[in-house]
Amino acid sequence: MRFPWWSRKQRQELDEELHTHLEMAARERMERGEEKNEAARAARREFGNLGLVKEVTREMWGWSWLADLYEDLRFGARVLRKSPGFAIVAILSLALGIGATTSVFSVVYGVLMNPYPYAHSDRMVHLVAHDTAGNRRFVNLNGSQLQQLQKASCIESAAAMDEWNLTTTEGDLPEDVQAVYLTSNSFVHFGVPTLLGRGLLPSDAPDGEDPESVAVLGYKFWQRHFQGDPDIVGKKIQLVHKTYSIVGVVPPRFTWGDGEVYLPLKVTAEPARTFFIMIRLKPGVTRAAANAEFQSLLEQFAQQTPTHFPEHFHVTLEGLNDQFVSDIGGTLFLLLAAVALLLLIGCGNVSILLLARATARQHELAVRSAIGAERSRLLRQLLTESLMLSITGAIVGVALANGLVKLIVNWLPEFSFPHEAAISINLPVLCFSVGLALLTGIAFGISPALQSARPDIAQVMQSNTRKMTVGVHGRRTHGFLIAGQIALTLLLLAGAAVAMQGFLRIVNMNLGYDPHNVMSVGIPVHDNTYTTWEARSAFFHQLLRKVSFMPEVVAAGLSTNATPPNNGWEQRFEISGKPAAEQQRARINFVSSGYFSVLRIPLQQGRLWDETETLRGAKLALINQTLAHQYFPNGDAIGGELRMPEMKGEPPFRLAVPGSDSWFQIIGVVSDALDDGLQKPIKAGVYVPYTISMPVFTQILVRTQVPPLTTLHSIREQIHTIDPDQQAERDVRDLDGWIRVQPEWGSGHLVATLFAGFAVLALALAATGLYSVISYAVAQRTAEFGIRMALGARGKDVLLIVFRSAAVNVAGGVLAGVVLTILLNRVLARWIQGSSLNIPILFGVVLLLVATAGLSCFVPARRASSVDPMTALRYE
């Protein structure tokens, strides 16, 4: 016996020591006059058995437990290698459960539980005002209101921010840069140390003066634009012809406002100039108390600047993650439930496999204990074997978790999770699922040893193994496990089917417009440019003309806020001659007349406005069918008038024609197109010429022959010829892409694909579980079947016997699964929007499961029925 773990050195030293002994003995004999060969022989004779001396000496080294372990491992590996199918299925079952659970939970943890790097992010909130119709909007405050707010008793600190698109003005084409302006206390407010250099300081923005030209870079921008230059601090960057010195770089998880550069914000006393407000509450302040304080404070503010607030509102505070939790929380928890089921099914599968094998190995264990193996030694052997399986499964599972996390992160709907989230494998959950897998392996792995610990050895050995049928107890455990597995699989399949149905509904939705080969190029207008109505409308008109004359472009349209499927500015409106309902609201879209042909939205009645009407800002309106049906049920919309009382200019930002809040003439009705996302019903919509009211941003919608994004560079060049400083947004998508970033699409896609994947895996696991149980049972009853067939049973009869034994378990499982699914249907319906369980789904799922189960039984049953009776009888 050779034990490789004793160090080679130790063994060599023993060899040498004994060899020296022999040499010394021989030398002494030679000194006494013996002949050389004779002396050596005599010395060896006197020494005794060299090998045996070595062995008994080595035993003193005291490593025999390790020797046993080595034995067990070698034996275990041999046993597993002899049944690779069993080993692979068991390992994969565990690995899938571990990998899926860990990865999904890691995403849940990263996105929902701990997404932010900011200090005390649980106390960071935003102000939200709700109007009486249930619309919510963020409250922005001006400089003096911010100062009053900071004195509120529940506030620990408050900071303000603003966003603007700037451009680099050094390269060929201007590059869009997302600037976030922050008050100088913001870096203290966030409490995140910079990666390089420093953050913004109070000295960067002294009260009442223009701020210093300093910039802190966002991590991604630093990587992209400066290739992660480690000596960046102190260098300069030019943005819209203004030079800033770079004072610092924020760490990767600091992505507030998805800023690429962070610049000091100038807080002015101008009442119309408002900022987004960031608040951290004092510890221990309840939301209710804070809401009450802010309600009265904001009511005061609303008297100062009534246009910044809804008419009647109530204030609530919204935590940083509240929106994301409601966007994607349900989706992720649903997935978590799915993977938990998968883990259970996986562990169930391993238990079934181990139990089935245990029954088959009872004979072997009985023989081994009959020839003197101690019970503890047998236990240890079985434990080693099942631990080998579990540990291999765990290792594969960890690798799988790693890959799956990356996949899920790629599939997360882009704007439905905080970009601060650092999603990585969550250790506690990894330990939990690995632990569960190990426990399953141990518990079911040693059960045969526990059973055969008090075996009637004689009985087991006398009854020829193969003829023995499984004991009643073993069969019942198998039955329960199989039925449980099938029930859970059915639940998972039904969930997957519902999710897929929901997603297919979104994919096949009638949009009302044609998104293919159309893209939307966003164009942010620079601060202090085109500040008069005439200048800005001329600029927009020129942009549209240049682009529409490009050879690649089939049609072009301009809209400042109307890229579907979630578009328009929701406002109150009135219809001339009709009393306005309390909440009569519509989505107002500012578009050019080309918009409708680009998107292929058909005109139902009336006419579109023409170019001259656009250029003079004619007060004409088109309405969608929803509005027409709702407010002009007699079809007399055309010729009617409507007005949007809130539609006023806010120069220099929003430039409107005089009388933009007065009456508009309705000249036509267009078909409905989605305007409130993919799942909600279409809202009443009004289209007016874009020149009526122009913000500091516009979009050009372009229909092309080729994939539209390939023409983007030439479009940027065209824009450049009009205004060398004018950039287009960096993140340009085609309209199919705009559909995919809708949260409904993203979470529907995530749930449907992952759920379906997990369900298929669960089905495969359940099938292998059933298959192996039936196979073992059949193998053990081979002789019995032989006898039956020798006595005249036909193959068909044997087939029936096998099927009947499985049918009870499968039927029980299916029944339990159906009941479970119906019970949980409510939960499912709440989380998967736009789809619910129905009879065809339930029926289809049951059919699929029964067919799979039938196939898993059929293969081994077929083997049993085609056996030759004589062979079966002789079969040991």
Binding site: M24, V56, T57, M60
Partner: protein, 122 residues
């Protein structure tokens, strides 16, 4: 082979206490290698005690594990590399204990074998 092994093990058992004492005592006179120890025991016992290698080496390795002796490779007087064993401090204390135990034992055995010797001598 199993049978032979058994025999060796039995001898170790038989000799254990005494062989340990003899080895420790031999090493008190200075570091020595395995062969040297067996020769020393043989010579000092007037060629009566022949130490079996199958007992000697396990005993040496066991005593080393118990930290009563230490080993190191040195060059012998015949210019040969050999593993030398030497007593440790705990080994010395153990030797004292073993010696007094042996003295008690041999006194007791002597007393049993010659009950009247003491009275007869004067």
């Amino acid at each position: 082979m199993a049978e032979k092994r058994e025999r060796y093990q039995n001898r170790i058992e038989l000799l254990q206490g005494t062989l340990d004492l003899l080895i420790l005592q031999t090493l008190q006179w200075g570091a020595q290698h395995g062969y040297g120890i067996s020769v020393a025991i043989r010579n000092r016992s007037g060629e009566i005690l022949q130490v079996d290698t199958g007992s000697l080496y396990p005993a040496l390795h066991r005593l080393q594990k118990q930290k009563w002796i230490k080993s190191e490779w040195k060059i012998s007087e015949n210019n040969q590399r050999a593993k030398y064993y030497r007593l440790t401090a705990t080994g010395k204390r153990q030797l004292t204990r073993e010696r007094s135990k042996w003295a008690h034992l041999s006194d007791a055995i002597a007393g049993v074998l010659n009950p009247f010797e003491d009275e007869n001598e004067p």
